[in-house]
Symmetry: C2
Subunit: 387 residues, 2 copies
């Protein structure tokens, strides 16, 4: 019997992980479940899945949970509570499914305790890849990819020597605006951006998919997870979202991993890696697999992807600035304060304004992040005033 | 330094193997090279690649070789010579690239000497799968697939537990007549059938690709090589010949292996399995990978595939009859004695006429093979007289 804690159990990945664990992992018991603000759903999850403890980041959510739930296990509060849940000594595995920069510190806390991390939080590697990987190596902690693309690379490379990887190609659905002309992209609404053609995901990542920033983040993640150079990673648009990534080997052979677009599959794989366990999850219907299409991404219409690749090339603190400005810009777009096409403008402006520094500690990461957010917020206000 | 002998070095696979070995395998030296009749090319290969010895099956070819070559190593003759080359004690690996039933005995001879076999000869498994696999297990001899489809399955299953395979899907180009209506198939000529759209192969296998019998043989091979049930193996037509096969796992995940249609890739992989070694072999051009298509095979227009699947289901000696009748029918088609659409008719008639028996020894296999050929030859004569 192993114990797993889920950081962000009320989010999209967290809910699907609970489903997978309850259905297929009778040998896993739940440690902590955590949420940022969703006390109601956490109370339901406690009733249904019986974890050892819970943690709620927002103090109001903590109060609310205390009112509506009679749960008698440990109930932690605040950022410190989330970090304590991640680093709890009873954990064998922590699934880090937090959204955004908030995922960085708890992920590091789990690694420092030598706990295996299944990583669904992109930002931990995007903003602190060097620190996270160094700590994971130091504590000999496996980092298991939960993203469908990185899971695909993991699956294609089991049994292969790392040196035999020539390059990887991440696929991208292209999002809801794949075929929209440049002019029309200015006018798209948050509702349109939140309607993803193939994947059912949370709001932030769905907007990031529509801008292709999400794919840029995944390139940065792949860089850290698989120890590749930026030149070894590329992106192809694949509207069907059936092929989740390709790995090309040094002999010229290529492997791909395929599956229906369902996050339960890579979540399940991370929990059984490197072996597999039978599931009744949906299968590819071979009869319907009539056509798979691939095309290079258009960085003129989707400049966020190029901003991310440039930030990876620049290295140092550039990805921190990229991520901070993107979080601010996406939130402003959801709140209708800026246009869809303003998102890359805010990010580019922030990258230009903040000088690049070496990331020698988490404190510096946090400092750069704060500066970049201030700058991005100022740029958002400026854009608003001009309208 | 390891030693490899190539049975059938003057054929398509043999020539490509010599190219691959000379270019990428400085740690392999050549034992025997063998040919059926092509003394001229064998003499050239001896000059260029400096093997330890040679064997020629046809006595005329042996005489001719003696006249034109001053080679001073061992020169063996006849079926016995080919078998001796296969079982030579200096061999570490034997690449069995003979065409047709002639490949069965030498393959068994190598296995009995405990020599690793890279298997490009389909018939050894199609007609004697049970005997070959039993002997390989008994002598603990690895059988390495050289077919692109079986190499794909091998590549997709490295690092995976055999029990986690749910099923495999072999891809087929569909051959030159993929879109030809049933009526037009009657009139196709050997020249048309020999013009394969994607693969550059020998004559027999090219005709087998045009009838889809080749894919039927590969299903039977996969059945033996990977210990699957017939229900776990299916076929999809994939005109681009880029995806060489799929493996679906019990968790719902699917892996595929891709590559340009070039046999040097799977030949090279068989020689480096389970690791890889860098090559300058042609790469997939990702920019050109715009569309991959898959469709179920049409067994009304291509009944040979169904005949093969039925023979696998029936088991016992049915695949021996299938193979013998097919060899006779394909030869008769190449000689313009029967039509393209007569090939499945000859095979079906032979299968109906020969009762199924258990294959308890190679002698029984040889006996059934002979009977089936006689029957198939009689059916070919009958068809000719009716025209």
């Amino acid at each position: 019997m192993k114990t797993i804690s889920i950081l962000g159990s009320t989010g999209s990945i967290g809910r699907q992980a609970l489903d997978v664990i309850a259905t297929y992992h009778g040998d896993l018991q739940l440690g902590f479940l955590t949420t940022n603000t969703n006390a109601e759903l956490l109370a339901e999850q406690v009733e249904r899945y019986k974890p050892y403890g819970v943690a709620l980041c927002a103090p109001e959510a903590y109060q609310r949970f205390r009112q509506i739930s009679s749960f008698d296990g440990p109930v932690l509060c605040g950022k410190e509570g989330i970090r304590a849940a991640a680093a709890w000594e009873g954990n064998d595995i922590v699934l880090s499914a937090l959204v955004g920069f908030a995922g960085v510190e708890p992920t590091l806390a789990a690694i420092e305790r030598g706990i295996t991390v299944a990583l669904a939080n992109k930002e931990a590697l995007v903003v602190a890849g060097e620190l996270v990987m160094a700590k994971a190596r130091h504590h000999n902690v496996p980092l298991l990819a939960v993203d469908s693309e990185h899971s695909a690379i993991l699956q294609c490379t089991v049994g292969e020597h790392p040196d035999s990887i020539e390059r990887v190609v991440l696929t991208a659905s292209g999002g809801p605006f794949r075929n929209l002309p440049l002019e029309a992209l200015e006018q798209v609404t948050p509702e349109q951006a939140l309607r993803h053609p193939t994947w059912n995901m949370g709001a932030k990542i769905t907007i990031d998919s529509a801008t292709l920033m999400n794919k840029g983040f995944e390139v940065i993640e792949a860089y850290w997870l698989f120890g590749l150079s930026p030149e070894q990673i590329s992106v192809l648009i694949h509207p069907q979202s059936i092929v989740h990534s390709f790995v090309e080997f040094t002999d010229g052979s290529v492997k791909a991993q395929l599956g229906v677009p369902d996050m339960r599959l890579p979540i399940h794989y991370a929990l059984t890696y490197p072996s597999r366990r039978p599931t009744a999850l949906p299968r590819i219907q071979w009869e319907q697999l009539s056509r798979l299409e691939f095309e290079p991404p258009d960085t003129t219409r989707f400049p966020c992807l190029k901003l991310a690749l440039d930030a990876l090339h620049e290295g140092k603190s550039a990805p921190v600035v990229l991520n901070a400005a993107n979080e601010v810009a996406v939130e402003a777009f959801i709140q209708r304060r800026i246009r869809f096409s303003d998102i890359p403008a805010v990010i580019a402006g922030t990258l230009d304004a903040i000088p690049s520094v070496a990331l020698t500690s988490l404190e510096i990461v946090i400092d750069v992040d704060r500066h970049a957010r201030h700058k991005a917020i100022a740029l958002v206000s400026h854009l608003q005033q001009r309208r």
